[in-house]
Amino acid sequence: MSSYNYIIKYIIVGDSGVGKSCLLIQFTDKRFNAGRELTIGVEFGTRFISVDDKQIKLQIWDTAGQESFRSITQSYYRGAAGALLVYDISRRESFEHISTWLADVRRHANPHTTIVLVGNKSDLDESKRQVTSEEAERFAKENGIALFLETSAKSASNVEEVFVKTAENVYEKIKSGEFTSNETSGIRLGPVQKSSLSEETQGGACC
């Protein structure tokens, strides 16, 4: 598809092994691959969705969770309109590290970035759960995180919702003028929008 209104950039961050790449693959390819390949640095995928009758191209950057890659991956945070903070509900540590990831995102990304907390692996047996959804929801609320969802990349539960709801939130911000289209905001106009909107967005300075 070549006609779309916006390109929105997402980043997915979180500890190694929480399922960031699996979420991305589930969303873009609708498959689950339990392979154990590690992500090197940054990989990315794209998919088109439609929000409010607008075609939106999501450009999703999947970062490596290894601390040793952090210096590389942080440079990709810049210009992300959406940020998915992913933890593994069966590994408490990954949840406790979310505050570090959140600080990273707040530090390196755009201040208007829509941040979403994602508890992955919700398909696992309840006995393996180490983070309750109430606790995560409270954390999200206390830290000004717009959305919280529990997902399963394996069963595809809520995966679509996470990406779409994030896009809706970003789109709301575009409509309200909080975001303007430029490189640093992580939103670019697609060929359709460019023709109609280019005058409006001229000179608009983001943040």
Binding site: E67, I72, E93
Partner: protein, 752 residues
Amino acid sequence: MSLDAVWHEIYDHHGGCSFYVNQKTGNWRKNKPTDATIVKVDPDSIWSVWNDTAQMTLYYYSKTNKWTSHTPPPFCPVVSLPVLAKKPSLRKHISIPTIASMPNQKSFEQPYDRYVGLPSPASVDDTCQIYQQFNTTSYEDTALSNMHTKEQQTPSPPNASTQKVKKQGLLLQTAKAPIEFNCRSKIFPQSFKRQLTFPLLHSSQRSTLINGPGTSPPKIKFCPCASSKTQSPKTPSPPPSLSPSSLSPLSLSFTLSPFSPLSPSSPFSPATILSPFLQCSPSPPSKGSDNNIYTSAFEHYAATQFNIHKRGIFKRTPIPLDEMSHWTKYSINKPLLKTTNKNHTKDALASFKKIQSIMGDRPRKYHGRLCNCDDVMDIQSILMCGITKGQHIRDEIYVQLCKQLNHNPSPTSTQKGWELLVVLCSTFPPSKDLAQCIIQFVEGHSIQQPTNNHDDNDGGGNNNDNSNPAPHSSSFASYIRLKIKGVYELGPRESVPSRAEIQLARTTTLQQQQQHKVQQENEFENEIGITVFGTPLDIIMKNQQLLDRTTIEEAQQLKIPRIVPLLIRAIGQLDGHSTEGVFRIPGLADMVSLLKTQINSDYILDGGHEFPRAKDLNICGDDPNVPASLLRLWLRELPTPLIPETYYEQCINGASNLDSVTSIVDSLPEVNRHILLYTIGFLQEFLSPDVYKLTLMAVDSLAIVFAPNFFRAPLTDDLALALQKSKFEQLFVKTLLLGPKVNMEAQLYGPL
């Protein structure tokens, strides 16, 4: 030649065009003046003059050498571009000297992180003024009774500017270049001609002024030509010199100030930036009068930097300064430091209340329901505020704490305050001039800590029995100095320290206050205690061998730092070989930092002979990923990568060829080679199919995890290239892993 007629032609690198500045009037134009002498200015050898508004002084800055000076440079032309900088429309024609705006409060409001914090062009408005217009107050007016005024004249911009320069180093190309000008002419502004006759102040004298502001009865003397200066108030005065006899021991020890023109080679190299911390003598104050200096350092900081607070309902009277800088049980109604940002007010007032709560001076409100707040949460929220809200609020927190430590009547409260100070100093730095003030403050106050044997704990800093200095006082002060130095090097932390870290820092405070005997005999370097993190391998090894020589037979002496086998054995003992995702999944950050601190303190105390200890394993909470994470952290924190940068290209080029990989490894420095091979030998154990079944870590995964810890790719903006290269780093590690099995014992103890 009339000065009016002299115009400087300055080439603006950003704009790519020249413009012309009248040296005398400050007029500016784009077109070449026809009826005047034009002096071409080229980008070397010229000094610019800047007004540090915070301190009410002028200083001079050489872009080429990155020197600042409070005296006009004697043999160099000086240029000022005030009008130019004041007109917003003209700013685009100059690049702004980053150095100049640092003392300005505005720039403090920006967080000085590694990538932000460049002064906004707006700040130039205030910082840059024409020197001819600068009206100095005569230094002779500075009577002792008028200490505050004098303080304002005390120069300190280099403090700030050094930070800036350090940042410039970090920022590399991103930093805006200072104004560049250059003058081939021999013409100096008239006022400077006269000053050429002044002898340059000796650096120690100048740094005295910087570091020991308001020192004891300072006999302020002028340079030989001082009289001429007072007659012409429009001439910028060089800073007054103190007569050597009045120098305090502390200030004398700052002789190698980074601003010294006597050390021209690299006055702002990262090493010397921190020299005030390093060279400040750890000797405690020995004279009663000296103690006044230390406490007053803070009070004088207060005099210049504090807001004027008022009280009363109808007739609002200003609160006297000494009250402002002393402990109080009441709230404050304004931030202590002057600020223009309204948002700071709220944060500052909240943090002050929290500081009072933490120190036990303010009861916690429970609001009739269960309050799960405790000290640590308050501390964390203060730290969070400081981490996220920028330098100004950090300084505010520091001065609030100093205020509450100053003349604090309660030993318990004081102790908690020191603990908080240690935590602060491990989290974010104060600004440079405040840092020196804090160090002096600690030196002056450490005597009254509850751990000492003196009974006069309940007094202020002035009440101490200084004839018998407490032996640990300097130790604690140097500990604080070390902490501040460390936090300067690393920059503010990115995340709030965990509960465990805070608790540890607080315990350390007490230990540091009590530990004094052995350390004082050692040199400063040893006093730090060799930590194993962030220390060069050769220093770790030197210390380890010194310790081992007396206690262990030669055959049993390790060829690699003890921490490596310690952590690797811990991974093994905690069933790393059967843990899914071992090495890949990070250990809990709290536990990792706890283990790090534990190992560090063991190294300091006894060289960490036994390994791994039961308590170390205990800290790991049965998770092999904790020692595994720490091992990787240790590798990443080495000052130089395990595979040094000089080998990098070689490694990338020959990554897939076992022969070339082997020959590169053989050519590595001995210790590096042993560590690398020992680690590889251990990782090879994970390649067996039986282990893989459980860990699911294939050789590629192990290589991906470890390559960035062995290598540190040269910094580049080309991320695609960096990723490309990282694939080869991984290939190198993979080749090594799949190569012949390494004999771990041989790497540990050397070939038999």
